[in-house]
Amino acid sequence: MVLSTAEKSYIYESLSGENTLRTDSRKYNEFRPLKAACSFVPNCNGSSRVYTADGIECITSVKAKVVKTKDLANLIAVEVDIEGQRDNSALCLDLSALLQRSLVNNFDYEILRLTDKYYFQIYVDVLILSVPGDFKNSSYTLYSLLSLISMGSYLALKSCKLPLLTSTTNDREIEEEPSFADDWELATDLIPESSEFQPVLVFVVGLVGSNVIIDPSLDEEQVLENGVCIGYSQGNIVPPIQSVALSTVDGKPFDRKTLAKATGLVKEIGQPVTQALDAILSEEVDEYGSVF
């Protein structure tokens, strides 16, 4: 929705005020309701679908392939595709780059290792099904999708299953191609339950006045003065910590206290969000999915 000047100023005043009054009466640290489901694409090792009430939907798939490599950083490839946008549009490239960087920087490569020479290559493909119709003539940007996308990739990676390795791994120096069990029932999780490792979650925090808000809605984005995306994994802030443009008008610099508030906010909500996502993962999905 394109807001008028009066509407903008009203929303700005209430957001930047003492109590951070938001248009949908959320608290500053509250997310909009999300729904999600996992493992519904039979062709993929892991998949997830995350969608919000305003019709934005993110489908993520993880595919794994055995490769022979020494270069660990190339083991994760990320591709973001947005409906109605060209593959090489700035938004697609940016979101892909940001997500890839955050995943690569915070990944436990041990879980991809098969032998010293063979690794699993992971392809993370993200598809945004529909974007709001007024996107082209409004002043918000879609960088806020980043938080949705990162939740999608979190769920897809966590639900990713790999065939059971049957060849030996103890003589790792040997150039032996790994072989796998035929039985898909024996499949193991990419991220074993015993592992401490969690894929990174990226949160988008909006800055307005000296207030910070999590998960800004499209209306709120239009009055925001600045935004930062902050990564979270295993109870800690991780890279990227990077400012992103959430609105194309009326930007302002922010001070360090606000930045500290933003990181504090992410630290505070990271744990509950992780728990909520893990609860979704534990829900069983039948193959002939009632996903849709």
Binding site: V41, N43, G55, E79, E83, R86, D125, S130, Y288
Partner: protein, 246 residues
């Protein structure tokens, strides 16, 4: 020839079906009530397709600049999203993949004959198809998904269009092919209008002996009628639910 026995002497296919059996057919409508005016999800075996319909509206978001609105009917724009993960092996496709463009033109022709044109002059109907998983029957799945999504969007159609692919193994026609069969056998995809014997869509990209074609099509028509029944059933269930809610 492939190593697989596509049709055993006992009359069983690779996935255990008989020659005239459909794969499991599931469909849902109104899956994305907030994102589009009409939406549908179709699953045939392991093929999964989503279809979103926006419209009828005055301007299309995805319409190329300079496209003129038609005084006699809607402008249909069909975009196909084939993400790299949909097929069994990951493969990136260009947005303007020729094969997908061709399919979109075929679908456009088919549905311009199915939509009641006079109701929608000077409008745009935006159809976007997304392949979530592909295991054969691409065009047929698309066609069924569009039919359901158009119905869900409340766009007036003359009748259902249901589509199915039929292949030929030696002398035997095989109904509703999967990827393995499609890669080795010649096949034809047909779309049938409602319960009639009229074909609205037909695509054959392989060589098929002319004398076998009739048998393929008559089997296909039977299959389409069955698919139509299943879609009709789902629509009635959805309608019932809608009524109960009011």
């Amino acid at each position: 020839m492939s190593r697989l026995e596509l049709y055993s002497p006992e009359g069983l296919r690779v996935d255990g079906r008989r020659w005239n059996e459909l794969r499991r057919f599931e469909c849902r409508t109104n899956t994305h009530p907030h994102a589009a005016d009409g939406s549908a999800y179709v699953q045939q075996g392991n093929s999964k397709i989503l279809c979103l319909v926006k419209g009828p509206m005055e301007h299309g978001a995805n319409l190329a600049a300079g496209t003129k609105l038609d005084a006699n009917g809607p402008v249909l724009s069909i975009t196909i999203n084939y993400p790299p993960f949909a097929a069994n092996d990951r493969k990136k496709r260009q947005k303007n993949d020729r094969r997908l463009q061709e399919i979109s033109i075929i679908l456009k022709r088919c549905f311009m004959k199915t939509i009641v044109l006079k109701n929608y002059s000077r409008t745009v109907i935006d159809i976007s198809l997304t392949v979530l998983a592909m295991d054969g029957g691409l065009l047929a799945c698309f066609c069924n998904a569009i039919t359901l999504a158009l119905i869900d969007a409340g766009i007036s159609l003359y009748d259902y269009v249901s589509a199915i692919s039929i292949g030929l193994f030696d002398q035997t026609p095989l109904l509703d092919m999967n990827t393995l069969e499609e890669s080795d056998l010649s096949f034809v995809t047909i779309g049938v209008v409602g319960d009639s014997d009229k074909l609205n869509l037909m695509l054959c990209e392989d060589k098929i002996p002319l004398d076998k074609l009739e048998r393929l099509i008559s089997l296909g028509i039977e299959g389409c009628h069955r698919v139509k029944q299943l879609m009709d059933h789902q629509m009635r269930v959805a309608g019932q639910e809608l009524q109960e809610r009011q």
